[in-house]
Amino acid sequence: MANLRKIFSQIYDKYIDKIYRFIFLKVNSEEIAQDLTSETFLRGWESFKNGNKIENPQAFLYRIARNLVIDHYREKGRTQVVSAEFAPIVDPREDLEEKAILTSDVDRIKQVLVNLKEDYQNVIIWHYLDDLPIQEVAKMLDRTEEATRVLLSRALKTLKQSIDLRNQ
């Protein structure tokens, strides 16, 4: 058990930032991102300690995180939706200097990204933020590499159009 803990501890250290960022960019709330991230790792740890073989921890954690975000929005769909445009954008960084680094352009991308469709969000986050090669993104999306390239191009185009629309 101690050995399993040690292995999962390393997995946690390696992916906590990525999973948190992935969820935060979809829910735009520090509180909810923390909740869903801890639930992701808790489920991951429970599955791991019960002896389930995890060949690709990253893909495995992202799968849990995606499902949790979908469930979150499904629940929210029945309740009040606070538009990302008007909701206070909770910045998870404490350091004021660090906060200042994000320009209004980046804030705008954050706001637009949260409203993109799920596959567009995923392909952008995984390829441009996590630096995952197209081949790996394709596997995670269960698509061909060609289809993933097309998806990425459409996602970028849609993101750009939405930002341009806001700038007008």
């Binding site: 740890w45 009040q80 998870p92 930002i163």
Partner: protein
């Protein structure tokens, strides 16, 4: 903005990171023992496990204490929620609707405090938490049977009062449609059940009042009257 510039800006989102203290705390909550192994103690080796255990439990105990007064958006708030979820495990199915209503009341108290102190940033997460708990309470209310009504009357009444308070401060309506639907079903079943019973004249009057309350959507008042009729 060119595509290259856009990709550059997207990459700046890498600066979004979770708070370090939250990362450490969450890890210790999930894995527990791991953090204990890493506590560096300079005493005699035999003291290490004991001291580390006391330290971990001490920190957890203090954190749980402080977490009780935390609000959505606060660093310690997830601990408060974990404590509530762990408590719910020990609550029997019969008591669960009452427990979930108590939690909804707690969320309303938090919303009230946030609204009173004008902590705008915490408003969105607080509303989200409230709605999630309303959903859970509505689900458990669906399982309420005749004899269990007594258990939920007081909390339902409190909920209506708290809701009114928050609505007054925020000057906006707080939506609890799911909960209202669940309560409406309970009241309707109870009224139908009472209609089939033989009642005294006074009891008939109370039932008529309960029906009026039901039609006006005042479910807690209707439930109070149903309770009087159910326990003569």
């Amino acid at each position: 903005m060119t595509e290259k510039q856009l990709i550059g800006k997207i990459r700046e989102l890498r600066q979004i990171k979770p708070r370090k203290d939250w990362v450490v705390l969450t890890k210790s909550q999930i894995l527990g023992e791991v953090e204990r192994e890493r506590v560096s103690v300079s005493f005699f080796p035999l003291w290490r496990p004991a001291l580390a255990t006391v330290t971990v439990f001490g920190i957890l105990f203090i954190s749980f204490g402080f977490a009780q007064s935390s609000l959505p958006g606060d660093f310690l708030y997830p601990i408060k929620k974990i404590a509530e979820k762990s408590q719910a495990v020990f609550v029997s199915e019969k008591e669960l609707p009452k427990y979930n209503l108590e939690i909804v009341n707690k969320r309303l108290d938090e919303l009230n405090e946030i609204a009173q102190t004008n902590q705008v940033k915490k408003l969105a997460p607080a509303i989200s938490e409230f709605q999630a708990n309303v959903s859970e309470a509505a689900k458990s209310l669906a399982k309420v049977k005749g004899q269990d009504v007594e258990k939920i009357v007081e909390e339902t009444k409190k909920l209506e009062e708290n809701k009114k308070k928050v609505e007054d401060v925020l000057a906006t309506k707080i939506e609890t449609e799911e909960l209202d639907n669940a309560l409406s079903q309970i009241v309707e079943i109870q009224i139908k059940d009472l209609e089939e019973r033989t009642l005294t004249e006074r009891q008939e009057e109370i039932l008529a009042e309960a029906q009026n309350d039901f039609e006006a959507g005042n479910y807690s008042q209707a439930l109070e009257k149903i309770l009087i009729l159910s326990n003569p």
